[in-house]
């Protein structure tokens, strides 16, 4: 997932209100006959809406069709994918439902292991990133210390550095530490994120200060302010960061591919690629495995849709 400095600029943009009337841009002025316009436009609008709806529906079908085909393939008999002379609906509805495909995947490769690894790695990265980012963001947003702004700028500046630049030295470092092919190598580099810090800082800045001031007068420590005031108020932002981080590490292929080389430490993406490498033509099994990889993400999405939308609006992040 890429990280951006530019939401700063977006903030700035929001505050300036454009005032130039559109009329200036139009050359001709037409007389308006209100009554006639209303009559015609009601029917026209109905048609327009129906047409629009049909188009949107067509687009939605295009979006969903590959997934449906994926599901149907995952239930097919191995030979059935290749069969030539098929009635068109058999492309979608296999004549026999081979749900055993889903079980077979777990036997052919250590899929359960991949699954557990992915869950472990994603949860550790997410928890670590949200915790460390929130703490750093609190310091940047609310505490005053020498060098704060310069340090924050340093964080910002590194966000534009492509991951490819740091990937090689980090690999060499881990190799020196003897951490290659370990969970440490999978998890640790993913935890520390300038992006998460930046996003949470922007959110903390929008929180009202009164509560904190009151707490401070009562002699409340910074730790307690952070824990009992800032964090509870920031649930939406924390949920957003959690969702994005979890998804990012769940899907990540390149890093696990680089640092891990025994099967038992593969995460799902690497495991799936490995599966494809040894059973490249077992399409029914591959699709069943892919379905099982997507499923948790789909469930997270269905329940957290709002956070996705809000998160994107907040930071301009790319999914």
């Amino acid at each position: 997932m890429s990280r951006y400095i530019d939401s700063l600029m977006r903030e700035e943009m929001k505050h300036s209100k454009p005032t130039i009337p559109a009329a200036l841009f139009l050359k001709k002025k037409k007389p308006v006959v209100v009554i006639e316009l209303k009559k015609r436009s009601r029917l026209k609008r109905k048609f327009q809406r129906a047409g629009l709806f049909a188009l949107l529906l067509l687009g939605a079908v295009t979006m969903v069709a590959p997934f449906l085909w994926m599901i149907s393939t995952s239930f097919k008999e191995a030979g059935q994918v290749f069969a030539d002379a098929k009635v068109w609906w058999q492309e979608w509805l296999p004549s026999t439902f081979v749900w055993q495909n889903y079980l077979k995947v777990w036997e052919v490769v250590p899929f359960a292991r991949f699954y557990l690894n992915s869950i472990l790695v994603s949860i550790c990265i997410t928890a670590g990133q949200v915790a460390t980012s929130a703490m750093a963001a609190y310091a940047f947003a609310r505490l005053d210390f020498p060098g704060r702004d310069r340090l924050f700028f340093g964080y910002l500046a590194t966000m534009m550095i492509p991951g490819a630049v740091t990937m090689i030295p980090v690999f060499i470092l881990l190799r020196y530490l003897g951490w290659i092919d370990s969970y440490k190598a999978l998890i640790l580099p993913g935890i520390f994120s300038a992006y998460g810090t930046f996003m949470l800082r922007q959110f903390f800045l929008t929180l009202p200060k009164d509560l904190e001031d009151a707490a401070k007068i009562d002699g409340c420590s910074y730790r307690r302010i952070f824990w009992h005031i800032i964090l509870p108020l920031s649930k939406p932002a924390l949920a957003t960061l959690t969702t994005f981080t979890f998804m990012g590490s769940w899907m990540n292929l390149m890093w696990p591919l680089i640092v891990v080389n025994t099967h038992t430490k593969y995460t799902l993406p690497v495991g799936l690629a490995y599966f494809q490498g040894i059973h490249g033509t077992d399409w029914t099994l591959l699709m069943a495995a892919s379905m099982m990889m997507i499923l948790p993400i789909l469930i997270v999405f269905l329940f957290n849709q709002r956070f996705f939308v809000e998160g994107i609006k907040l930071t301009g992040i790319k999914g």
């Binding site: 890429s2 454009p18 949107l56 939605a60 030539d84 492509p162 690999f171 060499i172 999405f301």
Partner: protein
């Protein structure tokens, strides 16, 4: 009084560093120092396995300047970015359609967002099957459509034909991104356009098309600019997963992108120095676009 203030101040500074510590340590170890190390690496030759790094000066960059593969992979990367304008246009149209307040907007938005959510290995595998020339979904549809018309239509060998591999990936990328975050950003931008501008345009007798060009388009231009630059920056770094899963960078290197080339150099051929040099070239390209974004975003694009 002054003493108490000093005490509070020290307490605050100490607290600040304590809060920063975990993140900053990790940041130093896994980002700041590696960036410098990477710059150093780009001036050495080192295969990690035998002996120490050899300082070679600018030799890596000189070799890179003469490397025909590098240039053709750069071209591939740029070619594949054709997906960006296509997808952006689609995102805008979708956002406009969804902004009409039709029934089921939320459902549509969720459905269009699906491909973005499920990106990654599973989806690339699915598309590898879709593009399979013999029994893939796409070619089956094409030939069945041909049967309907009484013609014998046959789709191309999408991923194994040098001429079709890149268009195939572009189509897939458009499918994947058209309803994603760009559409949501456009939707937010459209909702931010002041209503009275449309009212004014309507009074002046503007039709829908005129309203779009005179009101909507200039009003959302900052968003367009933002999305375009961000997509470009992402586009230069894109193409690893799809190359690794779907094409192996082929046929004949036609889908190898810069990032895939870096990966191959570093982790298949163990040319650490050369890979670091390529990554710094990539970084400088991205840097140019980032600076462009800083310069112009929110200023010059406002009311063009």
């Amino acid at each position: 009084m002054a003493n108490g203030y000093m005490k509070d101040k020290t307490k605050e500074i100490l607290a600040a560093y304590a809060f920063l510590m975990p993140n900053m340590l990790g940041f130093l170890i896994f980002t700041s120092i590696p960036v410098l190390a990477s710059l150093g690496l780009s001036f050495v030759q080192w295969d990690l396995l035998s002996g120490d790094p050899q300082f070679v000066g600018a030799a890596n960059f000189v070799e890179l300047a003469k490397d025909p593969f590098f240039f053709s992979y750069c071209w591939n990367t740029v070619y594949l970015m054709l997906a960006i304008p296509l997808s952006m246009a689609g995102s805008l149209l979708l956002a406009i359609a969804l902004n009409r307040g039709l029934k089921g907007t939320v459902v549509f938005r969720a459905i269009y967002f699906l491909p973005t959510i499920c990106s990654g290995v599973a989806i690339f595998m699915l598309w590898r099957l879709i593009y399979n020339s013999n029994f893939g979904f796409l070619n089956t549809m094409i030939s069945q459509f041909g049967d309907l018309l009484g013609l014998k239509l046959a789709g191309p060998n999408w991923l194994t034909d040098e001429n079709w591999a890149k268009p195939a990936l572009i189509i897939m990328n458009v499918w994947q991104t058209v309803g994603g975050s760009n559409m949501i950003l456009y939707l937010a931008a459209l909702q931010g356009v002041p209503r009275d501008l449309y009212d004014a345009a309507e009074v002046d007798g503007a039709n829908n098309f005129q309203k779009f060009w005179a009101v909507t388009w200039p009003q959302i231009s900052p968003t367009t600019f933002f999305i375009a630059i961000m997509s470009l920056i992402g586009g230069f770094q894109a193409g690893f997963d799809q190359a690794y899963i779907m094409t192996g960078g082929g046929p004949n290197g036609s889908t190898t992108t810069i990032i895939y080339y870096i990966f191959k150099n570093a982790f298949e051929w163990y040319r650490m120095g050369y890979a670091a040099a390529i990554s710094w070239v990539l970084f400088s390209i991205i840097f140019v676009f980032t600076v462009l974004n800083w310069r112009f975003y929110g200023r010059n694009v406002h009311y063009t």
